[in-house]
Amino acid sequence: MSIPTTHSTPRQVEIGRLLRASTTGCVIGCRVSQLDVPSFGCMVSIPLQPGYQVFGLIYDIHIDDDGLVRQLVTAEGVPEDVIQDNRQNRNVPIEMSVLLVGYQQGSRVYHMIPPRPPLTLDAIYICSDEETCRFCSAGHFGYFRHVLRAQDLPVGELLAAHMQNVARSQRSHGNPGWVEQATQELITLLRDDYPTLMAVLGALGDADLQYAE
């Protein structure tokens, strides 16, 4: 899968830095002010060294509580400065879990688990439309198997959110047939797993994806 190098691509928004990782996934920490950009199903990239970057999908964003927050919710009319204090100063970083789905080595994209995980405090970026299209169009949807293997995740919802994002990018890059191809591939991959197939198709239906005419 040879694709043009992404080194010249202007870096997109940094959404946080890596807290912990394995070869299959990682957890990112971010400030509240960085939280408006990433969303469930977003594709992110973690450049590790020139010519090597890892790609992943955000599958969870969690806001933790603690004793003080639990106490505050019982109070009548929490003052705005206290709310801001708890959002901006306390309980940070906000954690996002990412499923690693492939990597780029040199000019090639692999839909395989990366050979080594990113390291603590590596910066994480939202993929640009161009990067997203390049990654998702490379090969033949090999990265779907990482998603489908992750039984603990809301697989249908994650795929639907991901495809909603990618479909928009692909359409703007002149590839409106991507959604249909991706859906066909999912049907093929899940042909022996009827319950998961139904869950995925149900979620895709709700995502209101626009298929090519």
Binding site: Q71, L72, A75, P79, D81, Q84, D85, R87, N89, R90
Partner: protein
């Protein structure tokens, strides 16, 4: 070895059996105290005279002193009349121990700055000081005691507040947790006296800046107002200072103002008591503008009164506008924490300041690494500490 539950169970039963008796005794004392309080409510001068007379008989007398407001004063939370800045600070310390591999201490102060009523997150500040080598020892060569390190922390807390207050243009309210007054030092040392002087200098600095300074005491146990009422019940002045002759012994000020069982609270939610001074033995380090005054504040609800004791220096106590602003600020802060009222800013400064055991270990490691890097000899834990830190028994698998 665990607690000997079997042996202690009988004592717990005995404790329960005596509880009713103690409650009855407390109720009787509370009724008596309230009676005296109402009797002398406006006769504050007579009370002051009585305290002065009793002081001649009991040299170690320590009790409340009316400051002019009626003893039964109940003042509701005043409305806010101006914008202000709220600064709160709390401290945490690592006390040096010769059982550790390296001897060091840490004074850590956390502070927060709020602009009440504004939709902005407060600012957090943290100041850390490492105590090592000569800073760990007194002039006589003794390792700093826990008491002196705690006093150093108190000085650092208020010093931090004074420094932060200097940058403000609006009126400033500063809060620290616990008493403003420092007393009870059993073995005074030169270091202790020096720190007391520094502490007074910081309080003077805050006074010079016109910064409202207050110490907030949660669940207060003091009984200075009750002791003052006790003096009014004395048949002979010579009895003053004799604990066994006290008629109201065991009753706290908080119970006096909060009520108990069928005796209703004297203070409604948000109300404060009169401001009291403190009569204390002569030569106390806190006199003049720094003489400690206090009032009680009900930060609870109609169903659950929660009494806090608020200590302020004399110059704050003397200005009703400053007391009003302080009362308003404290009630607003406590309301933020709902059913467990406590000033939010103080809790947050505690969160910022606290040094966990893990952090202490991390600091210890950093120091040891640096010492080794410099080729210095690093000692080891004491054998006693080594055995205390052994891993506890684990379960298989």
């Amino acid at each position: 070895m665990p607690v000997n539950f079997q042996s202690i169970q009988a004592q717990i039963r005995e404790m329960g059996q005596k509880a009713e008796l103690r409650e009855r005794d407390l109720l009787a004392k509370l009724r008596k105290a309230r009676e005296v309080l109402y009797t002398y409510a406006v006769e504050t001068e007579a009370v002051r005279q009585r305290v002065a007379q009793a002081a001649t008989a009991a040299k170690s007398l320590r009790c409340a002193l009316p400051s002019g407001e009626p003893l039964t004063t109940q003042l509701p939370t005043p409305p806010l009349r101006c914008e202000y800045v709220l600064l709160a600070a709390d401290g945490s310390q690592v006390v040096p121990s010769h059982h550790d591999a390296v001897e060091f201490g840490v004074i850590n102060v956390g502070a927060v700055r709020f602009l009440p009523g504004q939709p902005y997150a407060p600012r957090e500040y943290i100041y850390s000081e490492l105590l090592f080598h000569d800073k760990l020892y007194t002039a006589d060569g003794y390792l700093l005691t826990e008491e002196v390190v705690a006093l150093k922390r108190d000085v650092a807390e208020r010093g931090t507040l004074a420094d932060l207050a200097r940058q403000e243009k609006l009126p400033v309210v500063t809060l620290t947790d616990g008493q403003l007054e420092i007393y009870g030092e059993s073995k005074r040392s030169k270091e202790f006296d020096r720190e007391i002087e520094r502490y007074k200098n910081v309080l003077n600095d805050l006074a010079a800046q016109g910064v409202i300074t207050a110490g907030y005491v949660s669940k207060p146990r003091s009984d200075l107002a009750v002791r003052m009422l006790d003096l009014m019940l004395l048949e002979r002045l010579e009895m003053a200072g004799n604990e066994r002759m006290r008629q109201l012994g065991g009753l706290t000020d908080a119970t006096l103002f909060a009520g108990f069982r069928d005796i209703p609270p004297l203070l409604a939610p948000g109300e404060r008591s009169a401001v009291f001074g403190i009569y204390s033995k002569p030569n106390t380090p806190f006199d003049g503008a720094l003489a400690v005054h206090y009032f009680y504040l009900n930060v609870g609800t109609a169903h659950r009164p929660v009494l806090a004791r608020v200590e302020v220096p004399a110059w704050v106590a003397a200005d009703p506008a400053l007391i009003d602003l302080l009362q308003h600020a404290l009630v607003a802060q406590c309301q933020a924490l709902g059913s467990q009222p406590y000033p939010y800013a103080l809790h947050r400064s505690h969160e910022v300041a606290v040094v966990s055991l893990e952090e202490k270990k991390q600091l210890e490691n950093m120091i040891m690494i640096e010492l080794r890097r410099q080729g210095a000899q690093v000692d080891s834990l004491s054998e006693k500490q080594f055995h205390k830190e052994l891993q506890h028994r684990t379960r298989y698998p």
